[in-house]
Symmetry: none
Subunit: 192 residues, 4 copies
DNA sequence: AATGAATGAGTTTTCATTCAT
DNA sequence: TATGAATGAAAACTCATTCAT
């Protein structure tokens, strides 16, 4: 059943979060998933081969979080705030996973896959900017596709940096988010 | 000789680039460095303990590249262009290492060290912005420290994305750099 | 259907030829046989339990080949030539299987079975010699049963050696066959 | 030290003899050799990779046994008897190893090696026959190289068959040896 | 009878680290 | 300092066999 594959992926995410990248073992994953060691290898050829599936889940989580936070009725600025909130929130919970995925990219035998997996995320952001541009809220020179990449990279990297160095300092996160919002608003040339 | 330590660090960089974080072995590193297995442990207490040294080298490389490209006599915009050039250039050559360092950060233990290592990089950028702000080139609301983090994250992440997905497409890099420059100029509220 | 059992045996022969004894898996056999993993165990109690059936098939092949080649109307020498031809021919095609069966013998459990399986082969050869002896063609001291073992061992081992070390060299096979024939004729004390 | 490699090879021979092919484990071998598990892999890349070394030792054992038994002062017939004794003796003690080596040959990635390893054995036998031929003891048509192969194959295969099917029956071995001797004397056309 | 996903004990294999030289 | 063979605990991975369907 595909149920088993799901369980492996989610167990893998949990274990990586708890134990960190280096110390996570397949045996931990299967224990958490409640399956036999051998079953793991029916679904994934090796420990590394789970990564694309994890990335997929992370993208899904991100899109769900964004959709939960961003209300169509809100103003563009509020929507942007919500996007930043969403990215910070997911990054806080899954910072290690994100780092692991980046590292996984490096040793990629999967490059083609990664593009496919991430495209919905970039596509959403691009669409979000397109809409705003059509509504004449952004400067004319904004290219939605290019800017989507910039926005995602910018927000994620600041979020990572935030939760990496300021464990528990809640104010710091708020300050960072505000600073990001402010910079992005100017970067996009948002008309108030 | 300190020469040996250097050789270990550079061999480690090479091996991590080639094999990725999971598969790099101490035996590969020492082979490449041309030293004995045991010698490694004279200079580094463990395999992970090389990481800070690698990060250090990367930061140095980055600052050297920036100092080579950025001329004090240039206008702020040209200097910014040069910074972007520098970051893209280093990222192109050492993308895997950057990813690895991010992942290495995750398995912490060294957190304190990391901040010390990276601070010259952030400090340079902050100083760069401070100077521009004093010269009234930027919008008043720019906070140099905060914005340094934003700028570095933004440029690096786009650079990574560029070289990860568009192997060899030279035009793509140019387009991305321009787009980044444009966005940053607006984000900083640069007065032309 | 008994058809399935046949398919398993022949698939097993193929797989053992291709992969060798150590690396052959039940999963390979069932894949080749086009049946489910579990079905294997309906027909054979374990992986090793196929071996006797394989040996049986090999003996049958050998006897069929001999019966095809050896004509009753031929002279003894021509019949002997044909026997050598037959053994060389089968060995050429199934060298790996023969070796595997020898190895399989080692892990016994089935010793009794093996004797039963091989006896028709030895019996044929013994009968062949008995007839010649009755016709006064062989030296008086030939013991048909003992000599059958000698003859089979002799021909098979040279054939194996031939096809193992002289891949594709057709002349070599002819030379070896002639040498074997010559030696055996003297060994049997054949009266011309 | 090369001492370790030796110990692994001899432990491997012991274990294969005791446990049979299928059931021998690397862990058994290292236990018997008195070394660590990992040490095995310094000297041999896998369990199968020990085989050529084992074959080498077997050839050496055989030549030592032959040299012990065959006295130059003996008549050719007595020398031949001693050769048969030697081959039967070694086969009795290491039948499983021989079978394993044959099977190993089948899955050969080592074919080239095997020829080199076995050549001293064939060379000895060829030289043995050459000498007898020069002394006019054999029929003129004997080709020493070809006949060496025939002789070795003949004696070994009967010996294997003997110890496989007549466990403990000492008389049977004697009968077989006599029969082989007799057949070979005729085959070689030995002049009494 | 047939299936094939699941099992998990058993094995191989790895590799960071040590230590006698 | 430098060496590199040796270690062995720890991990990955295999695969014959079972069993619910």
């Amino acid at each position: 059943m595909d149920n088993k594959k799901e369980r492996i992926i989610h167990a893998a995410i949990d274990v990586f979060c708890e134990k960190g990248i280096e110390k996570a073992k397949v045996s931990d994953i299967v224990k958490k998933a409640g399956i036999a060691q051998g079953t793991f290898y029916i679904y994934f050829s090796s420990k590394l081969a789970v990564m694309p599936s994890i990335a997929q889940v992370m993208v899904e989580k991100m899109l769900v979080e964004i959709n939960n936070k961003v209300k169509n009725s809100d103003s563009f600025i509020d929507q942007l705030k919500s996007v930043i909130e969403a990215v910070f929130s997911i990054t806080k919970d899954f910072r290690e996973i994100q780092a692991m995925i980046y590292a996984g990219l490096a040793s990629a035998e999967f490059l083609q896959e990664w593009e496919t997996i991430y495209s919905p995320y970039y596509a959403w952001m691009s669409e979000f900017l397109s809409l705003a541009k059509e509504n004449n809220i952004l400067r004319d020179t904004v290219d939605p596709d290019q800017t989507a990449v910039i926005l995602i990279g910018l927000i994620e990297s600041v979020a990572e940096q935030t939760f990496l160095y300021s464990h528990g300092d809640r104010d710091m996160a708020e300050i960072k988010k505000n600073e990001v919002l402010n910079f992005v608003l100017h970067g996009l040339g948002v008309k108030f």
